[in-house]
């Protein structure tokens, strides 16, 4: 049974659905049915996020297929992704939509 979920194919974070201790494999299933696993680098509390790929400082954090913020430092695959390494950024979404 998977211990994590990923919502959209382009998401770069997944959500732990059980507590996952450091070093343990987190497994999750993409919407197309493809199974994947990464080793988490630190303890991930239940329902918290971890990176499923390396996310360089300044690049977007993607969940639900949408931007939820920007990496405020380099984040490695399997690291906890939360307020300590993510900044909230207000985007002009009306302008982006009309482009």
């Amino acid at each position: 049974m998977d211990n994590a979920v990923i919502i959209e194919a382009k998401d770069n974070v997944a959500v732990a659905i059980e507590p996952i201790p450091a070093g343990v494999r987190a497994s999750f299933c993409y919407p197309d049915g493809k199974q994947r696993a990464v080793n988490v680098r630190e303890d991930i509390a239940i329902y918290h996020k971890f990176a499923v790929c390396d996310i360089p400082c300044g690049s977007k954090i993607i969940k639900y297929g949408e931007h939820i913020g920007e990496a405020s430092r380099d984040i490695l695959t399997g690291e906890h992704v939360h307020v300590h390494n993510v900044a909230s950024v207000r985007e002009n979404l009306e302008k982006e939509e009309s482009l």
Binding site: V15, I17, Y47, R90
Partner: protein
């Protein structure tokens, strides 16, 4: 009985209630304690603590008036006893006129300063309320189609399970209600921030589309004008402890409550609804004031998703609590009505859970008490623009 009907109370204005309360309506904070005394004395009477109604700027007073009129007009109310002090800004004739613009249901008036103080006002109001309660008790429930239902949707004490399970489930229920000809309200403008472009794509026309952006920008600007920022306090400490990182993440989870149907209209706070289908109401993220706005708009029932578990109720409408967090469902069991966590742990369970939640909504419409009703929770809040004057 067909699954697609519920047993409700017909109102003279053509609407249908799922409760048959007498509302003891305090026109201002100065009438609130008196209203509580009256409501305690009469079976079937409900009230709340109105903290406003006086010393408010025009925009704030209007919201207070809209909530009061909307509560009295809500179809769950049989009739209303309005209690005012006498000297407040929300004068008895203004409140009465606002109610009569929305409904022709019975009402009575008591002005404390004219009655000769609290005890005489209580005597008069208890007499009026008990007469209304007696008349209400004669009314029988009758079957009505689900198209008569207006559901409000709300999320509070969110965590990542809200966006994974409880909100998508409520979204499926919202789709079902809309497909059956009913109405569903998506609320909480502050929790559209970062997700407004997704909602705008679902607008039925350009006017609705631009209104969605307008209410979000208007909200942010109103806070900037007083030097404040919507991100202050949002996500809340509880949201973050649960695993929500940014307001945008919270919003993207929040809007799932609105399901997948087109958005047919955008209403200002506490305005009376006249559209069927999925609509948006411009309300704060603050739960009790958002819930109050939707109930003033005519919602007979509110579906409230929570990750952390919250107690919010309302004197007029049942507020059903739904969590997708399996731990919260155990720890906050007394406050919760429905466990949506199988959405996460049993892939493919969504259709079955939607049916079960629909069944609970119908049972609640037919009279089953929500947890918040059984606990007697009545507190409300009214949205505000600025300080008292």
């Amino acid at each position: 009985m067909s699954k697609q009907t519920f047993l409700g109370f017909a109102r003279p204005d053509g609407r249908v209630g799922i409760r048959n309360h007498i509302l003891i309506l305090p026109a201002s904070i100065c009438a609130s304690d008196t209203a509580s005394l009256v409501a305690r004395q009469v079976q079937g009477a409900v009230t709340f603590h109105n903290q406003n109604g006086c010393s408010q700027v025009g925009a704030d007073q209007q919201w207070t008036m809209d909530i009061m009129a909307g509560f009295a007009a809500n179809p769950n109310i049989y009739g209303t006893v309005i209690i005012s002090l006498g000297c407040e800004n929300c004068q008895m004739d203004l409140v009465t006129e606002a109610i009569q613009k929305r409904t022709n249901k019975p009402f009575r008036q008591v002005v404390i300063q004219q009655a000769g103080g609290t005890l005489k006002a209580v005597e008069q109001a208890v007499r009026y309320a008990s007469e209304l309660a007696e008349a209400a008790s004669m009314q029988q429930r009758q079957p009505f189609p689900v198209s008569e239902l207006i559901i409000g949707t709300e999320c509070g004490g969110s965590d990542p399970t809200s966006g994974l399970a409880a909100n998508p489930l409520v979204g499926c229920l919202s789709d079902l209600i809309v497909d059956l000809g009913g109405t569903s309200i998506l609320s909480e403008t502050t929790e559209f921030i970062g997700a407004e472009h997704i909602l705008a794509r679902r607008a039925v026309n350009e006017m609705v589309r631009s209104r969605i952006f307008e209410i979000v920008h208007r909200y942010e600007e109103a806070l900037h004008m007083v030097g404040e920022e919507v991100r202050h306090g949002n996500p809340s400490p509880g949201n973050m402890a649960g695993g929500i990182t940014t307001l945008e993440e919270k919003s993207l989870g929040c809007i799932h409550k609105g399901g997948h149907r087109p958005i047919v209209a955008v209403y200002d706070y506490a305005q009376q609804l006249h559209d069927k289908g999925l609509v948006i109401m411009d309300t704060p993220g603050n739960d009790p004031s958002s819930v109050a706005g939707m109930i003033a708009g005519g919602a007979q029932i509110v579906l409230f998703t929570t990750g952390r578990g919250t107690p919010t109720g309302n004197p007029i409408a049942p507020v059903l609590k739904i969590t997708g967090n399996k731990l919260t469902f155990e720890t906050m069991r007394d406050n919760l009505d429905f466990d949506a966590s199988p959405v996460i742990y049993q892939p493919g369970s969504m259709p079955k859970l939607t049916d079960e939640l629909f069944e609970l909504v119908l049972q609640t419409a037919n009279g089953k008490l929500s947890r918040a009703e059984a606990l007697g929770f009545i507190e409300i809040a009214i949205a505000r623009v600025c300080n008292y004057v």
